[in-house]
Amino acid sequence: MKLTIERAALLRTLSHVQSVVERRTTIPILSNVLMQAEGSTLSLTATDMDIAINESTPASIGAEGATTAPAHTLYDIVRKLPDGAQVELGKEGDRLELRAGRSRFTLQTLPNEDFPVMTGGEMPHSFAMSGEAMRRIIDSTRFAISTEETRYYLNGVYLHAADDKIRAVATDGHRLAKVESPLPDGAAGMPGVIVPRKTVGELRKLAEETEGDIQISLSDTKIRFAFDGVVLTSKLIDGTFPDYERVIPSGNDKMMQVDCRSFADAVDRVSTIATEKMRAVKMAVNGSALTLSASSQDSGSAVEEIEVGYDNDAIEIGFNSRYLLDIANQIESGQAQFEMADAASPTIVRDIDDAAALYVLMPMRV
């Protein structure tokens, strides 16, 4: 294997694939990136056995071939090379030689035959979604993904087709996020799948600048996203997502409209006082006044009043301030509607201008 590639192209591709490599792994080959030079492209692959990311980029290939080298080390080297440098990569025996300008590095390699290939298997369902729609789905749900190990089926985003929409749901039991997007062609018969948190995070990073479509294919056990020369293949979480529709209340009649900016700022200020552990903020709504308050045995108390739209019976209800801020950050129009029932029942929050996303929040006792 021998090739020359521009530093910027190599860095970009490496940065994409290396992020899936675990810092601490007991299997040495999983620390490595697989490099394959063929025709006029260099293809890089990294995996943690649950997710594999492959990306191809044009390169001038002197000699075709393949090898594997430590992903993070290689990435760090390329990162430190000067902008505009031409990087030469060549395999010498069981070493990888990297030259750029006056720098020369020799890296240990492991045989490319040993690199675990994650086969996608047959993926009977495939459809396309715009990068923008995908980003929106991820941003609106990922904050609600649970980290609880015992309920592993909550450690991802539940993606499924419902009511002629493609719907994504995530919950940790305390809050739930649900967002919909028009059902893409070919997605109608897809099974409901739970996409793991790490996959969601990697996909979001990779799709940051994607302007075109993302090709999605999936089976019951795996999902694949392909765009811009990147192919991300991931296992799915093998479990049953709870019947979330039962916990979305339908009769909440206490509607409150708030300006997200001033609401979030006030919650943020008041929560400075709330105890580190609980982060509880009390909301008292009376007429057009929303009084936010927090108190803690150790540090004191805080109160702030903001103006809201409300014309129902007065209500007092407590929430985890972090959850309120997470949701307020998702409301793009800047106007949110809270739909409350009482201090012990789930509250719905939605964007006034956007029916596609909905959030459910469990109150705290305050």
């Binding site: 015992t150 739930l176 469990m362």
Partner: protein
Amino acid sequence: MNQTEDCLCRDCLAVWRAPDANDQERAPEAGVCPACRLKRVVRHRELHRLAIAHIDCDAFYASVEKRDDPNLRDSPVIIGGGRRGVVSAACYVARMYGVRSAMPMFKALKACPDAVVIRPNMEKYSRVGREIRKMMRNVTPLVQPLSIDEAFLDLSGADALHGGSPARTLAGLVRRIEQEIGVSASIGLSYNKFLAKVASDLDKPRGFAVIGEREAVSFLHDKPVRMIFGVGKALERKLRQDGIGTIGQLREMDPKRLMTRYGSMGERLYNFSRGVDPRPVDPHSETKSISTETTFENDLSSLSDLAHALWPLCETVARRLRKNDLAAGGVQLKLRDSDFKIVTRSRKLGTPTQLAEFLFQTGVQLLEPEIGETQYRLLGIGAEYLTGAETADIPDLADPDRDKQARVERVMQEIREKLGQDAVVKGRAL
């Protein structure tokens, strides 16, 4: 040589020395304060040298209620019902009728039909408890709370600061609690935590008991082993089987034998029986777990037998969680097999709980993988990662059925509180 004792008046805090109280001839007025002529005098040879105290409020919940409603002052008052169906606290008037803490409500009312029953207002009691704790911390930073109404205090080396001995400072503190908060407390003063706690129980209510180094061993000699912190029903039974009923008998045991026979408790038994307790007063210790365990008459191995034994333990832990205003953020299961090998398994909970049902469900999940050929002689369950009660059993958006189960248990609690602890039980308790 003539013996003299140090004396302290708990009303005016006067301090003087007097001949031994037993010497009637030389101390005709041993129990009377020469300054204020009142009779609440503490006398002890080591009075000003002892610095570890245990302060315990008297019938705390009942005292708070009496404080807030002076009409109740002379009536028998029982705090109970609430969520428990048992007596949480009984005032000293009710105690004269034989009412005791943890007694089922119907029994208590049989013994004392005229009792005024008040539902516990935990929020109020914790608030008052916090005020008291604050007053304790004004005296020394070394305050180790044991519950809402009792704490250990270490006043070593604070004589100069307070312009008096620990005993005098403590008497002043309790006097201030009585005047400013309006509830009375009893003091146990000694040279370690074990004996301080024992002492505070000796002279209640409004008591001040002292156990000095000179008499500690003789004092403990004929006391039951149960008095030692950590000796519960099971260990007491085992000690009795081994022919040990009193602390004096314990002291005669060979230390090696104690440790091999009773494990880590052996060391404590050895030390405590000699009046030795090396544990410092730790102001940062808070309740980290609440647990209970049981030793079987015959070893058990099947899931159904063990689960059957697990349920009442879960009910006990749940009751103690509620009493302490805490919720379990995790559950730990403990098993000891016939070879005395201990296995513990634990799991965090998605939603903290105060309910026996969820402790039990988690316990059974932890139990299942341990079932096989092994015979178990002991089973225990504990609540850990404790959090405040306000986080407990909030409906879970990811588990819609959970709330239904929680409601069932709450209804059961309400029925028990009206009709007694045994009025409703789960099928699995039979």
